[in-house]
Amino acid sequence: MALVGLTPFQALVGFSVGSDEFTPALAEARFQPVAGTTSEFTDITGVKTRFTSESGYDLILNYAQDWDTAGSLAHYLLTHNGDEATVTLEVPGGSFTATVTCVSGDIGGTGTGVAQASVTLPVKTGPTWTADA
């Protein structure tokens, strides 16, 4: 049995939508799995067998709002609310690409806190892994 080594990394490396990189806006960018449907079959002896489809994904973004900058992530999501977009998430070793449906995020916030927003974008296809050359 071979021992596989591990190189952990600190999560946020790079995130882009199309050709625009939005990494400085983000506190979190994460593809989160969405469980597939499971059906159970119990045979006459009482043994359970579970069948599950593949999981899908949601793209979770926690970002800081910026309405002053013309091409900011906040403006992008507002303008493209409901449109599809190709996103790229970089990690050490390569990147993940996926097609997501844009959802507009929070506008405004609380008192003296930094205005931030949290969105969950359903992933239509992907994420697909491409290793660095």
């Binding site: 952990p8 990394f9 600190q10 050490p92």
Partner: protein, 131 residues
């Protein structure tokens, strides 16, 4: 990219940090020594090892105190010489995949020189390299 065993971690952190600092500065391991300073020096003191909860078996988080010391007695001159470069250093560390920073604080060393104490931590794997 592979993580470093604990005994090599200080050298690796210094290697990663040196390009983030102005080339005229000196970078040295160990606790700060003020008697022979001729140029702005960054001392890297290895201070703490903590477990890494996300990968607890065989990995640790190693913390370092960087002492950024300009050998200038005048406080205003010392601040002008280093303040903006310390900001550059911590912002460069934001994008690093295994080194992070938690605080950069202005500090007066031995009541003489005004500089900065920057706390950084690095992810390391616990396996000693064979000598």
């Amino acid at each position: 990219m592979s993580l470093d065993p604990l005994d090599k971690i200080r050298a690796s952190v210094l290697e990663e940090i040196t390009p983030m600092l102005p080339p005229a500065w000196d970078v040295k391991p160990g606790i700060y020594k003020l008697d022979t300073l001729s140029k702005i020096t960054v001392f890297c003191e290895y201070t703490r090892i903590e477990p890494l909860p996300e990968a607890p078996l065989g990995h640790a988080r190693c913390a370092f105190e960087l002492a950024v010391i300009p050998p200038l007695a005048d406080i205003a001159k010392a601040e002008n010489a280093v303040d903006e470069y310390v900001v550059d250093l911590v912002l460069a560390l934001d994008r690093h995949t295994w080194i992070s920073w938690s605080l950069a604080e202005k500090k007066i060393f031995a009541d003489v020189y005004t500089g900065w104490s920057v706390t950084v931590s690095a992810i390391a794997s616990i396996s000693k390299t064979t000598p």
